[in-house]
Assembly symmetry: C2
Homo-oligomer: 884 residues x 2
């Protein structure tokens, strides 16, 4: 039979997959001789089995629990349920990665009407015994049986009021006994059964409750945000209780081995005298800084510091340690790698190298690349945020700190901004067009949407703070105000929100620009030293290009030319182009667009100083450039010298049932070669001029979008090359350039060998490739993907986390096929996943040459690429070799 | 250097790829000693090179032509351009498959001002010499130089009028000389140069003109209709002229070795005395039946019949032979497998077996499976169609014969039909919804759209005659009439059209139902004997199922349950379902739908008599069931007891940017499991009842659409199995059933090994798979695919002809992956390609178990499957083995 239950001392302290992080660490600490209250671990496999068996704890597991319980009783000399010498246990969750506060813990399991008396007698502390009992009943009722918390708290409040005390610790013994009585009565009333007095029943129910809590909504949200698969399951630790609530020689607390906010090397933490763990987090009592422990019990403190140093040295990472002191004896309840701010993360990594604990590679591996993002954006001034009034929370979709006057419409935002006011837009929903048009705002706050809404993606790409999906915001019927956190806000009121945490605050909060610290610079230098993949940025103008260069981009991997058509003059010209009925009319509009495009490209080439720039030809369907409302069409028709009916007919003729799969990308180039010719001319002339002006050699990469077939690609490439070579001949200039394609259509991927005969580079567009591979419209799929998460079908959104099994497999096939006909083909990624650390590791494994991401993600990508290279070179069981 | 030019006697008579069909046959006939005027062949590779070189005939080819010309001169003892003994040649096209009349032929090449005189002297026939010269100038000017035909015909008409004759053959010598003079003058005027007198220049220009004609619009349309790739190119034959126009002992004609209309074994054909080939096709002279040749020249006739028998025996197929008799000497100019009607095709194949010329397998290979389709549909009465007045032509997209009163709207059609009138709908465009709603009409005629428009596909599927894309129809501004062929037609006028030919006729033409002949039955029996793949039909109701069974379907491969919701009662219920906000409301609608669905399934099971029936769960997005116009919504809102605003809001909330990739297929089942549960219940209960009533064992196949991931599939399968097993338990019935999936999303295909762990069968939905693999929306792509054809990027529409390189590759990968985890997995195709012979051959090769197509295509598929099996078993270089 499979082994599902292990004593701490039997378990493998390295095996976080089987035991969860907390469980493995308990085993490890036991092994290195730390004062850990003993117990046993139930594996994550047992959890998975519990769910597979339809939320039943079958005999094979419960029998093993009973057996290990016996062994634990022998080990501790105490017995579960035995009043004379009772064993009480804490039942805690523990997943492969720590999910603090997301799942349930049940303490004091094993107490009952008899045991409480024995405990009182044994400890000579009746207060403690009944305090423990009332705590147990509360947890068992509300967590295991899911009774309404409110009703138990009412009892507690009632008794406290009657006794006239404010804190639990000041309750009298009689009061505690009364509470126990009232709790048991309430339990019976709700449950229609007595509180279980059999300690084994308590234990099994507690274990089941912890398993079940893997499935609770809080845990689900947390998993989604942190990419934790549902299939991992949680482990359970059953640990002998030690008591911080037996009197004033008892205490409990949490410490960090370094300062988690700054990274400074110091013991940092807080504790409470005469308390249990849940009192720390409840916030009702004032915590004492750990320095007071030093004053109070210097010997214990010294012992503790030695243990902390031992733990940090062992785990080679900053530790967050929970401890309890029971009658002046120190116990370590758990340890884990401590959460820290981005800033602290860099400092700790740097210090570990200075202290020679880690080499550069291992130090890089300590840092969470996702956190780098927050270092790049403006933030609220620390002192101010502490005083700010939080009023709500949404989904943090684009980092940064926004503070300004509330506007409810684009129009209002434009007018308010014109008065030099700082503006935040608060709207039910946001379109990506809004984001582009309103790139001057401090931030976006929406009631709908989420991490992967198109608008969120664009906001992230543009580095604009955005908090989405705050469904607590309720707009008034007249749409002139909204309520949040019980208050009413109207246009012009000040509000602030943090795109890294999702928190929303009342009023204006001062912000400060990000300063790139020396630690940041050093970590990036190390990253560049170890990474093998290039990192480019997606940028469509000189400003973004300069920002990207500053953040270390080695080129532009995606310059979307259509974004250059959005200023007023260009937009008018592109609209003229679209409504043209003849090549001649189109040429006239194109000739006017040409100088503007050329100048745009020149600015980008100059900002990139000779580094590669990949420019994508016009991609979106025409209708995206035309307004759709009759009002706007009327005014446009006037400016274009046509009737409303003519224009409306044109718009209708351009309507597509599925525009994502319609007349766009190179399909436009095939129908209207003159457009691709104009763009080629603008690129080539710009490059020639910048080469001359700056005396640098350029090599623009001209990228044809949406290829599905090699003949299609060749047709457009031939147009591009003919035009480019003609200009080079005419101007007698010499310029290297490449012509390649996006691989974003499944057919292109599986016929990549054919396409690579003509294409000099591939750039994987993972956004569209994900859409077509799954048949998920990005604009629509959020409507049903929520059902996929809630029904545990998908763990994560494939538009955010690369689907390695499907989309990733296609990328691998395309890479291999591409290299089979053009071994030196340049392979990159320019889709959203190009800035996602887990995806970057996959891209490294399949041998891509570079990733390209939004400028603010460049440092993330640099670090992630380095980590990928380091991990890859160490991995022995990698399923295929990276091909260079 | 590559050899581009071969004498007839040098060429390989089997190599149609290199020499074209005509060229290869000329070589073959030369080899077996038939009286073929000698000449040389220019390969199809030369044609391809000509286009690659930018429509230039480079030195390597022209030098080879000159060399072969010399050899031909030696062979014939005549010399090009030598007045005393001139060689004249005919320059003809010849592609790999015959494309009659699509490309250009230039006769009498080599004649000039001197040669004409020599020819007159040599033949003692001045009339003939000048007749040849004027013919040559006409062809050279209009075909090679593309002068306006009209202007040359005007001259001819003018001279004939002046002389007072009606036929060319009655022109006097003087008149012919005058024509030559006037032609030359006109040539100079248009060309601004003299007519080339150098015979070699004439020859080279003629060859180039034939190459170029591969590219002409007629040829392009023909290639598209017959799936002939542009890349094949045409060969050119240069053949010594023989003359049917040297006097009354000369003639020219075309005969078939069997009757091409009936298949009867008889020499069938026509000829003209004193004429050249182009007179046969011009229609100005009355042709003589070939029997008159027997009377006129019995010896030549006997010689001819011997040759015909020899040819038929050699090619083992009915031959269509062009011949010329020059001064009582018979020449064979070309032979090819003759075109025939479907009916004749069957008879000829049958007779060849009876005559022991062919065995059954080879006889089956003779028959064009595409032609079977026309045998199944009603047709115009033969005698009536001969008298009908053709007024135009469109693209034949769905076979059959339609005759009835013109209606311009669905509304009018419904009202007219209510009066028991036969109705044809004539509209600019057709939606697939129109087709479904108006399935009572005789036929559809549209000005836009084509073979692959969604509506065309639905029309074909429903067996309704349809001619599309007749752009000659011009609607009046008031939309109350249209003009075609110079006449005006209004609503209520009678019109007829043929969905197999695209021809449109004035007035009503009587039609007759198809009768399935004995030949048909025998051919089908043979097909079933040799084929290895099963053939099922797509059918959604009992009528279609019965039709399918009658036409030999071995099961239903696709029953679309949503089609059962289109009657008035069901539609109302499904709409109630859609606007429901709670499971309870939905259940109420579903409970009402259940009995109806169950009865529908029972009828289908009964009609299929125990053969497998694959039923697909609800697939389309909800919005397809809701009206979109405000008017209809108002009335629907009323009937649903809700306000217009509520309903409108619901419709808007269901709006999707890209519905093809939206909330549909199993995504609906995931959001609303109660729907799939109801459908499962209807299927299982229907099957149990039919098993009991009919005492047959059933095994329904429950098909989950749009799977992209195995977890997704498993989730829905679990619901289906739980429901089914619950019913079986409750009813204490025993029933086998299978649960499988459509493979129509690329990700499903490339993760088919995972999905096959749970899915018992795959049915490839090649329509959606083609959409997603290419990123081509079927609803929109026709707008740009026309550019792909005209620019020679694509030869064919991937929705019609399976894209073997891309979509086919994905099918192959999916088949292999599926079998890797479930070796006995059942693999079928239910997309549009399931009835397409070339695709069927591919499906055979990759080892699929069956194809499923619309009922009328079942015989096509049976024959095509047999041919695939026969060809496959013979093929030695097949790139992979069929896996069973």
């Amino acid at each position: 039979m499979k082994k599902f239950v292990y004593l701490f001392k039997e378990a493998d302290g390295e095996d976080k997959v089987l035991f969860g992080a907390k469980g493995a660490n308990l085993a490890q600490m036991t092994k290195i001789g730390l004062p850990v209250p003993q117990g046993f671990l139930i594996t994550t496999e047992a959890c998975t089995k519990y769910f597979e068996d339809g939320k039943l704890l079958k005999n094979d597991i419960s029998a093993q629990i009973e057996k290990k319980l016996e062994q634990l009783e022998k080990l501790t000399g105490k017995n579960l349920g035995k009043a004379e010498n009772p064993l009480l246990v804490a039942v805690r969750s523990g997943a492969r990665v720590s999910m603090p506060g997301m799942m349930d813990t049940i303490l004091d399991v094993g107490i009952n009407d008899e045991v409480v008396k024995g405990l009182a007698k044994l400890t000579k502390n009746e207060w403690f015994a009944y305090d423990s009992y009332r705590r147990f009943i509360f947890m068992f009722a509300t967590l295991v049986m899911q009774h309404d918390v409110q009703r138990y708290e009412e009892i507690l409040d009632q008794v406290k009021a009657k006794q006239g005390v404010a804190l639990d610790k000041d309750l009298s013994i009689e009061a505690l006994k009364k509470i126990v009585l009232m709790y048991k009565r309430l339990y019976r009333e709700i449950q229609n059964a007595e509180l279980p007095q059999d300690p084994k029943v308590q234990l099994v129910e507690a274990v089941k409750a912890v398993f079940k809590s893997w499935d609770n909504p809080r845990a689900e949200v947390y998993r989604k945000m942190h990419d934790i698969p549902y299939s991992w399951g949680t482990g359970v630790s059953v640990q002998t209780m030690v008591f911080g609530n037996m009197g004033d020689d008892c205490s409990t607390g949490v410490v960090f081995t370094r300062n988690p906010a700054t990274g400074k090397k110091e013991i940092y933490g807080e504790f409470l005298i005469n308390a249990q763990g849940e009192d720390i987090t409840s916030g009702t009592r004032t915590l004492l800084p750990i320095s007071q422990l030093q004053r109070k019990s210097p010997e214990i403190y010294t012992q503790f510091v030695t243990i902390l140093q031992k733990l940090e040295k062992h785990y080679k990472d900053m530790q967050e340690v929970e401890f309890t002191i029971e009658k002046n004896k120190l116990y370590i309840l758990q340890t884990r790698n401590g959460r820290r701010t981005a800033k602290a993360g860099l400092k700790i990594a740097m210090d570990f190298v200075k202290e020679k604990v880690l080499d550069e590679k291992n130090a890089l591996l300590m840092i969470d690349p996702r956190q780098m993002d927050t270092l790049m954006h403006q933030a609220f001034v620390d002192s101010a945020i502490k005083k700010a009034k939080p009023i709500g929370e949404g989904i943090p979709v684009s980092p940064g700190a926004a503070s300004g006057k509330i506007c409810f419409s684009a129009d209002k935002a434009i007018r308010t901004s014109a008065k030099k006011e700082k503006v935040v837009l608060v709207v039910p929903e946001l379109s990506s067009e809004d984001v582009r048009q309103l790139n001057f705002v401090e931030g976006f706050l929406t009631t709908r949407g989420g991490m992967t809404s198109h608008a969120s993606v664009v906001a992230r790409g543009n580095g604009i703070c955005c908090v989405a999906g705050c469904s607590d915001i309720v707009f008034a019927d007249d749409k002139k105000s909204f309520t949040l956190g019980g208050n009413k806000y109207k246009e012009g009121d000040d509000i602030s929100f943090d795109g890294s945490t999702g928190k929303i605050y009342e009023g204006e909060i001062p912000t400060e620009e990000a300063k790139l610290s020396n630690d940041f610079v050093t970590i990036m230098k190390w990253s560049d030293k170890y990474r093998e993949m290039g990192v480019r940025a997606n940028a469509d103008n000189a400003n973004d290009t300069e920002l990207a260069a500053k953040l270390g981009a080695e080129g532009i991997g995606l310059c979307r030319t259509e974004h250059m058509f959005l200023d007023k003059t260009s937009l008018k010209l592109i609209r003229e182009l679209i409504i043209s009925d003849s090549v001649k009319e189109r040429m006239s509009a194109l000739n006017k667009l040409l100088p503007k495009q050329k100048e745009d490209f020149k600015a980008i080439f100059k900002a990139m100083k000779g580094k590669p720039v990949t420019i994508r030809f016009l991609d979106p369907p025409f209708n995206e450039f035309l307004p759709q409302s009759d009002e706007e069409l009327t005014s446009l028709a006037k400016s274009l010298n046509m009737t409303f009916d003519e224009l409306k007919a044109k718009v209708n003729s351009l309507h597509e049932v599925n525009p994502m799969m319609g007349h766009r990308g190179l399909r436009i180039a095939i129908s209207y070669p003159e457009i691709v010719e104009m763009q080629t001319e603008a690129i080539i002339r710009a490059a020639i001029e910048v080469q001359k002006e700056n005396r640098t050699e350029l090599c623009p990469e001209l990228m044809i979008p949406l290829t599905s077939d090699c003949a299609e690609f060749k047709f457009v490439k031939d147009i591009v090359v003919a035009k480019a070579d003609k200009i080079l001949q005419e101007t007698n200039a010499s310029l290297k350039y490449k012509v390649g394609t996006m691989i974003e259509v499944p057919r292109a991927a599986i016929t990549a060998d054919q396409i690579a005969k003509f294409a000099e580079f591939f750039s994987f567009g993972t956004n569209d490739l994900t859409q077509l591979t799954y048949g998920f419209s990005r604009d629509d799929s959020w409507k049903f993907l929520d059902d996929y998460y809630s029904k545990k079908i998908f763990d994560s959104n494939p538009f955010v986390k690369l689907d390695q099994n499907g989309v990733g497999k296609i990328l691998r096939i395309a890479s291999e096929l591409g290299k089979s006909t053009r071994p030196d083909i340049e392979l990159g990624v320019c889709g959203e996943h190009g800035g996602e650390p887990v995806a970057i590791e996959y891209f490294h494994r399949i041998g891509l040459n570079y990733v390209s991401c939004s400028p603010y993600r460049v440092p993330v990508a640099r670090l992630a690429a380095a980590q990928s290279a380091i991990r890859y070179s160490r991995s022995k069981k990698s399923f295929f070799r990276r091909k260079k």
